[in-house]
């Protein structure tokens, strides 16, 4: 895994992954969206509102996965000081925050017709809201220092501290028996009909590959920005050296 610490090596692999991820995301969205939003049957209880689930569950899945990636890369950055790990964490966090917001908003839109309320203070909703604040805290802390390297390390520590929230979100539906329904995807058999699972998996795949593709784009632009910064710095140094000393 230390091989990937080299930005050139890493980006060679990332660039190779990019067209596949982008293409897969496009195909899955093109296949999944019509099935999820139009052709799949409405649920026998929820009716058409079940279609919100395809976006909601996919966003929720990504908000968890992305936080896991941020935390794991923060750990790698703190332990081995891999600059790439830090870049991956920093590039992922804003996306994670957006996915969390999406999960919360779609959940609220679904909750109004189904539960009769936009918001309840149930374990799953509360811990997801905390996750959103953790993302915001991560982004704010990383940005708060004059010295950007200090910000990176402080934010990485915060990401690790915040990872205690992940199991809480995951198990919240089992620990507190309130409005939010338990997981529908389990190792031992599903609790949803196949006709609803196909669009769900298509959408989850589409979201995941979309994340991977955008991550590569963000990493690429981050590395380019660093190169431009270095080029400007050396330009300034060259100009100063060229001027006669006074």
């Amino acid at each position: 895994m230390h091989r990937f610490a080299n930005p050139t090596q890493f980006m060679r692999i990332a660039d190779a992954v990019y067209p596949w991820a982008a293409g897969l995301s496009l195909i899955l969205f093109l296949a999944g969206l019509p099935i999820a939003l139009v052709t799949s049957p409405p649920d026998y209880q929820q009716g058409e509102t079940v279609r919100i689930m395809y976006v909601h569950v996919s966003s929720a899945w990504l908000m968890m996965m992305v936080y896991g990636i941020v935390a794991a890369n923060s750990a790698a950055f703190l332990v081995w000081r891999h600059p790439m790990a830090n870049l991956v964490a920093k590039a992922s966090a804003p996306m994670g925050a957006v996915f969390t917001a999406l999960a919360l908003i779609t959940g609220m839109l679904w909750g109004q017709p189904m539960w009769g309320t936009f918001w309840v203070w149930d374990g799953r909703l509360t811990s997801t809201l905390i996750l959103f604040f953790l993302y915001l805290g991560y982004l704010a802390l990383g940005d708060a220092f004059e010295d950007s390297e200090r910000g990176d390390k402080a934010a990485a520590i915060l990401a690790l501290v915040g990872s205690v929230n992940l199991p809480i979100i995951h198990f919240s539906v089992e620990w507190w028996n309130t409005l939010h329904q338990p997981s529908i995807i389990k190792m031992d058999g599903m609790t949803v009909d196949k006709s609803l699972l196909l669009p769900l998996f298509l959408m989850m795949g589409a979201f995941t590959s979309y994340y991977v593709a955008v991550l590569v784009l963000r990493l690429r632009s981050e590395l380019l920005a660093a190169k431009i910064r270095n080029a400007r710095m050396s330009q300034v140094a060259v100009n100063q050296a060229a001027q006669p000393a006074e």
């Binding site: 604040f133 802390l141 708060a144 004059e146 915060l158």
Partner: protein, 221 residues
Amino acid sequence: MSAFSTVLARDLRLALRQSADSLTVVAFFAIATVLFPFGVGPETNVLARIAGGVLWVTALLAALLSLDRIFAVDFEDGTLDQLVLAGAPLPVVVVAKVCAHWLTTGVPLILVSPLLAVTLHLPAAGYGPLVLALLLGTPTVSLVGAVGAALVLGTRRGGVLLSLLVLPLYIPILIFGTAAVEAALTGLPSTPMLSVLAGFMVLALTFSPWATAAALRQAVE
């Protein structure tokens, strides 16, 4: 162990010499609590209903205001560099400083809380669980707050940032702290909530000194 007692004694002595700092936190706790009867109206049963939650929220905010004292002064005058370089295990130093913070802010808050509960008409059954819950919860508040306080050392807008980092992590303490009082008022045992609060404290005591030490190391680098 000598590092622990030395740092603890030093911080306590400093806090005693500047006891106005601790008193300010307690004064904030009192004034913020007293705002609620004006905000929601002085009806006895309304106040009794929200007393536990109000006291917990204001105690958390009061503690939040005091968090920057744990490390900020030492960071500015260079003492923190010396503490990191001293060779004593940094997590032990952290625990000592957190202990000092708890003794100088957590304990005063706990001591005043029954008095403030009287002004909010908390029913008699709620006092024991309230004090016990604060006793078990405020050490966690100090421990988790220390991580945040160490992380924001040297930032441009430390105070506001600190609340964004630390308050989300305080929500579980708030939930179970308030639930302990609530349970007692409805005639249920509050021991399950108190056990969870004790569990949080053990968890925080296990992990937070290491995280704080890591944050301090990179702050003085």
